[in-house]
């Protein structure tokens, strides 16, 4: 009897060859992570990135735009992290602390404006500068969140970092949809079509996010999500929603992030599930950062180096400047304000997913933007998490150093 074909959710992922490669990446990433953790006391996520980075250096990097199983993997992993981060954003905080609201809006705006102008000043075409400006808005919420998780950091800097990175990812993802619509309108005979596309993109993402939030809310009321087994239900729901967004052509960043934010802000009830969904989530995180770390090539780096440096300089200056300048108003204090401004510097997975989206829509235009963004990401990929680690420790939000115990009483 001929074998019955088994329908796979993602056929490529299920092929033996692909699974072998995934297993290989897991082993290499895990070894690199342990090596980093033991030899430097830095978060493992730096080891994962380093493994990818070295692979790219040897010419084995993941190709952009992310495609096939790699795309599925990156979207899923990032989606899971963004959902979790979104579910930590309490919008009422922005109402109670207007300084924080101003920080959030202005750091994103300043980054975009600074990058846009700086790139035009060195001769980049306006459209390329605009696209780079949009991609410079989000900080790496996933990376920052993972570093904080591994350090077990807690305090005002950590809490604000989560909110600011989640919100600028949200602004960035919305700005990308708008940019897309703008580009479409410029080329379309009827601007109304572009407007309709925009409405469908944003409305669709919101609707799917609301569905996910409802489903998770319903699950949370019936099972105890503090247990890793029960939390897998949430993980599964998030994955379904992200895959749904992929199929429907909606933003795979917006859907999970919005769902998290909706869940957190539509009810007061305490949500608790294992952070990053325990071991299963940890596996996705490892794969994500190895892949993202490898998504560059020497050719990209050489092609975009100068513009990337300008982009990074403008972006860091704008973000750090705003965060630091407003740290008094937002009641954080100058020292912690400086630490917080450092945590917004990483540029990573989110920017690459946004770049991939851009490339898929318009390959020609994407090819102009890619070298700059890829070079910028590759340039700070390893520095970013180190900066976050140093900032959180410097702010005193890492665990205590072990106390010296003496036998002496009093």
């Amino acid at each position: 009897m001929p074998p019955v074909p088994v329908p796979a959710l993602v056929p490529d992922l299920a092929s033996p060859d692909m699974l072998l490669r995934v297993a290989g990446v897991v082993v290499v990433g895990a070894i690199a992570g342990e090596w980093i953790a033991r030899s430097t006391r830095l978060p493992r996520v730096i080891g994962y990135t380093l493994a990818g980075w070295v692979a790219a250096l040897g010419g084995f990097g993941a190709a952009l735009p992310f495609d096939g199983p790699v795309r599925v993997l990156v979207d899923l992993a990032l989606g899971v992290l963004l959902f979790e981060i979104g579910s930590r954003v309490r919008l009422r905080w922005l109402r109670h602390n207007p300084g924080l609201l101003a920080t959030s809006v202005l750091e994103a705006l300043a980054a975009a404006v600074a990058v846009g102008f700086a790139l035009q000043a060195i001769g980049q075409p306006p459209a390329v500068a605009a696209a780079c400006a949009v991609l410079a808005i989000p900080s790496s919420a996933a990376l920052a969140g993972r570093v904080a998780f591994e350090l077990r950091a807690d305090g005002q800097v950590t809490q604000r970092m989560t909110v600011l990175t989640a919100l600028d990812t949200l602004y960035g993802a919305v700005a990308l949809v708008l940019l897309d619509a703008g580009l479409a309108a410029a080329g379309a005979p009827d601007p109304r079509i572009a407007l309709a596309t925009l409405a469908v993109s944003l409305g669709g993402a919101l609707a799917l996010a609301a569905l996910l939030a409802l489903a998770v809310g319903a699950a949370a009321r019936r099972v105890d999500l503090r247990h890793e087994g029960a939390a897998l239900l949430v993980l599964g729901l998030v994955m379904l929603a992200v895959l749904g967004a992929q199929r429907l052509g909606l933003s795979t960043l917006l859907v999970p992030l919005l769902a998290g934010v909706l869940l957190r802000n539509t009810t007061e009830r305490a949500w608790s599930w294992p952070r990053h969904f325990g071991t299963a989530g940890g596996l996705l995180v490892l794969l994500l950062f190895v892949v993202v770390g490898s998504a560059w090539s020497v050719a990209h780096l050489l092609g975009g180096a100068l513009a990337a440096l300008v982009l990074l300089g403008a972006r860091v200056a704008a973000k750090a400047g705003v965060v630091w300048a407003l740290s008094g108003w937002s009641r954080l204090g100058m020292r912690k304000g400086f630490a917080l401004s450092l945590t917004l510097t990483p540029l990573s997975a989110t920017a690459l997913v946004m770049l991939s989206e851009l490339q898929r829509r318009d390959a020609g235009f994407g090819a102009q933007v890619a070298p700059i963004v890829v070079a910028a990401v590759a340039g700070v990929e390893l520095l970013g998490p180190v900066a976050v680690t140093i900032a959180l420790r410097w702010a005193g939000e890492g665990p205590d150093a072990p106390a010296v115990v003496t036998a002496r009483a009093a």
């Binding site: 905080w93 602390n97 305090g155 009830r269 608790s272 106390a403 115990v405």
Partner: protein, 374 residues
Amino acid sequence: MSLEPFAPSRALTLGVELELQIVNTHDHDLAPHAPDLLRVLRGVALPGDIKPEVTRSMVELSTGICDDHRAVLAQLRTLRDALVDAARRLEIGLCGGGTHPFQHWKRQRIYAEPRFRQVSALYGYLARQFTVFGQHVHVGCPSGDDALLLLHGLARWMPHLIALAAASPFVQGEDTAFDSARLNSVAAFPLAGRAPFVTTWRDFEAYFDRMARTGIVSSMKDFYWDIRPKPEFGTIEVRVLDTPLTIDKAAALAALIQCIAAWLRAERPYVPGEDDALVYGFNRFQACRFGLDGLCVDPTDGAQRTMRADLLALFARIEGHAIDRHAEPAIALLRQSLQEDGNDATWLRRTYDRERQLAEVVRLQVARWAATDT
């Protein structure tokens, strides 16, 4: 190091200290935001004080010197409102309760101050496990001898006060079966329990000198007794109360202690004796374990009554003093706890039974602490 002299203070004045929990608003675990909270409050004019405590997820507020229940409640209200306002700006929660129901001691961070670091180095995990939250009530005394007399007189009521204030049934995610599990953590310290039975300040100084000579203690802070004299304030300090879930309960408990002290001073209803210690441990255990339903043995005749029955009889006996000191609303509130609501441990258990999630219990504790209408 010798004991500082007893600084006389006006008899029966009150001072209240409350140790509060700082929690995040995500999963409501303890969160180390004390330095930020104190920074936001810097420069705000307040009665009393707001200070750091041994771990960074605790903060302590204290009133100034108060004459009666009304003054205590007014000051606590001002302090509470300022704290809640600052907490909102930082998106953190503050709440009462003697323990955090599911925090893990290992994750607690020691406050960066020499004394706290020293305590942490000496006591190791005990210092972190000592992440418990109490209410301390100071009662003014004109002399050291008065202070010791009041201390031993009040000792008989410690179990009852424990039962009334108990608000720590959950520890590390489990129901301990105790109404006040917090006091079990205090018991781990070497100098916890009852103060020695000395009745004059001169004898107390001699006792302190003997202890200091052994090198075990260097100041009164090294004694973790249920009630201890605080010579530099000119007070005795009642330390057995769990931090209540509301400031109204906190003010009422302080007022009750003041009324008992006034009654003891004015009527000397019994003479405290060394034999009181015989039943003290039993009564204290009953109060911690069973709360208001616990049995209390009378040291003079061995009669057994519930804490609840004893307290209702006490309220009747001190009524005149309560009226003199404007404490009737306080006694009324406590009487309601006895007859209907139970103590705060009852509230915590009922809330958990309804919500089936400890994080949700903490969220409701935060809401209860901030509620301005209570």
